[in-house]
Amino acid sequence: MSAIAIKASGLGKRHRLGGRSRYLTLREALVSLARAPFARASKRDSKGFLWALRNASFEISHGQAVGVVGRNGAGKSTLLKLLARITEPSEGSALVHGRVRSLLEVGTGFHPELTGRENVFLNGAILGMKRAEIARKFDEIVSFAGVELHLDTPVKHYSSGMYVRLAFAVAAHLEPEILLIDEVLAVGDAAFQRKCLGRMDEVARGGRTVLFVSHHLNAVRRLCGHCLWLDGGELKRFGPTGEVVSAYEASLLADPRAAGPEERHARFTGWSLGDSGSVHVLDTLGTATVHFEFETPQPIERGRHGITLRDHANQIVWGWAVSGLKFPRGRNRLTYRFSSLPLRPGAYQWQVTLFEEDRMLDEWYGAPAMTIDTEVLADCRDEFAGLLNLPFEFVPGPKED
């Protein structure tokens, strides 16, 4: 089983100039607010193209389960989309041997007006299953999802939990030779997530080739023998999971932005959640306290500080800046208290900056990512879910005077 499944040679994808201009202007507005150059390590080349992925070369053998890790915007999803043929590369090439199926979201193509039964066949066909294959696995899919009683109800009447379970159940019964999966395990309640992870485990151990993008490093450790680490659109490292994930984690903590010894600025050392189950997992829609810690070799007199929170697509969901801060030498802490952080479940990244007047002391992409793991209150269909997971009450009825 050492035959090559995927061989990528210099694979790259660039985005057209101007394609993200609105995003850029929005970002620029924020920059001027904080007077902080928020720009990431620029991926723009001399002609102004934005490269989402560049020069990725690697080989994956049949039967390997490979994790793909990296920060938000590192090119993980782009890599998957290229291999899944959803989008075409701008340069380089890849050879893929065998039947490929990709899973970038659960429930692709689900139609709210159709019943659970009809949607299983529709979604299965879109995912590339033959009708006979779906029919054969139908009972298994339904019992995996636990929606036997509602098979002939339109899915628009399903609870979000049921909807997601059914959608994942179809996907979980795909049996391709090569499976490409993007962060789709962050769906459903914890019990169902465990079930999905178990299923993934089976798939990976069943001799299939799996490429698995995830922020859940523990899941990657458990499921994948090898790991690809992407950083800023480039392939940083490819090797046994233990080594690569450890190196990746180390890089998150000791960011290479560390400056030379003669200009030892302040540096952020970590972030944590104050009152949640885990230090980096937010599981409540109630009060959320976030601490950022930094060390400074000399006192800060006229400090400025900016912060943004980005989602998996690197979109800023929130940003803020402040000036006129004073800090003593040594270890300091910036604490944010939110009465609620009602974001839809997923991985988010903090970005914080610290300035002494106009001189940047540190810019840090808070690592690890913040995982939001609250119950989904919004519409569970991706395109209608929006960014927020707002707690709300809905009261229909006649108007009372």
Binding site: A3, L11, G19, E88, P89, T108, L114, R131
Partner: protein, 282 residues
């Protein structure tokens, strides 16, 4: 639960690389995906009639109501000639294929934008999306045709040999709808403005086709130019086959068929060429 993978991969190799210029239509791949085409078409049909009061009755209601209005205003009040056939049948025989054409065309044209959530998440031949509405529309078309046949029989008109040519005229209609649909689908994925073009285009096209009037009222010297509208050949053909009106002239049919073929070939080429950029822009 998981079946073991058959030892050797099925020997299928996909080569992923940047393509440029024109790309041919991969008919073999389309054939491999025929089940998905079928599923998409049957979904279109199911969804159209879910939670509707009249259900499939809509399929016949639309051309029937239009024929009734045409008969009253154009046939009765405006006294538009109808090549010797009763005006109601004359209009109905044209409105049945026209309704199919209009629905198939707008379905095709909107298919990529409508399915943008799907095409950014999974791969399948994108051509299936504009093809599905053409297939789905055939059910409505068949129902309306059945009603039309009943109306013909009620008028004491027995089917003639000419009806054997109906599939050819339907083919002409399908080609025209698909060719135009491919162009508009590709363009509206890139520029949303083209969505507004569709209703407008269909309205103009209705006037430019012999639906409410016979092609014979177009002056002789303009007739061939008129025939460059492929729906002229198709509609005149339908009428001739169903009502036994004068047969459309050979060169008019040839002009229509040629335009339809040209539309289809250029539409497919444009679609394939623009296809690779959809995902990055929709």
């Amino acid at each position: 639960m998981t079946e073991p993978v058959q030892s050797a991969p099925e020997g299928k190799v996909i080569f992923i690389r940047p393509r440029s210029g024109w790309v041919r239509v991969d008919l073999r791949e389309l054939w491999e995906y025929r089940e998905l085409l079928w599923v998409l078409a049957s979904r279109d049909i199911r969804v159209r009639y879910k939670q509707t009061l009249l259900g499939v009755a809509w399929a016949v209601l639309q051309p029937t109501a239009a024929a009734a209005a045409f008969t009253l205003f154009f046939g009765h009040f405006a006294q538009i000639p109808s090549d010797g056939a009763p005006y109601a049948l004359f209009a109905f025989a044209a409105l049945v294929p026209w309704t199919y054409f209009a629905q198939a065309l707008s379905g095709s044209a909107g298919s990529l934008v409508e399915h943008r959530a799907v095409i950014t998440k999974i791969y399948f031949p994108r051509l299936l999306l504009p093809l599905a509405p053409l297939l789905a529309g055939l059910l409505d078309f068949a129902l309306a045709m059945a009603l039309l046949f009943m109306a013909l029989l009620a008028h004491g008109r027995v089917p003639q040999m000419g009806m054997l040519a109906l599939p050819a005229f339907l083919g002409l209609t399908v080609m025209t709808a698909l060719g135009t649909g491919l162009w508009l689908a590709a363009l509206s994925a890139l520029y949303r403005d083209f969505r507004h073009v569709v209703p407008f285009l269909l309205q103009l096209w209705l006037f430019a086709s012999p639906i409410a009037y016979p092609a014979s009222i177009v002056p002789e010297r303009w007739r061939l130019l008129y025939g460059l509208n492929p729906m002229v050949g198709a509609i005149e053909g339908f009428r001739w086959a169903l009502l036994g009106t004068t047969a459309p002239r050979g060169e008019l049919l040839a002009a229509s068929a040629l335009t339809a073929l040209l539309l289809l070939l250029t539409g497919a080429a444009a679609f394939r060429r623009l296809e690779r950029t959809f995902v990055d822009v929709v």
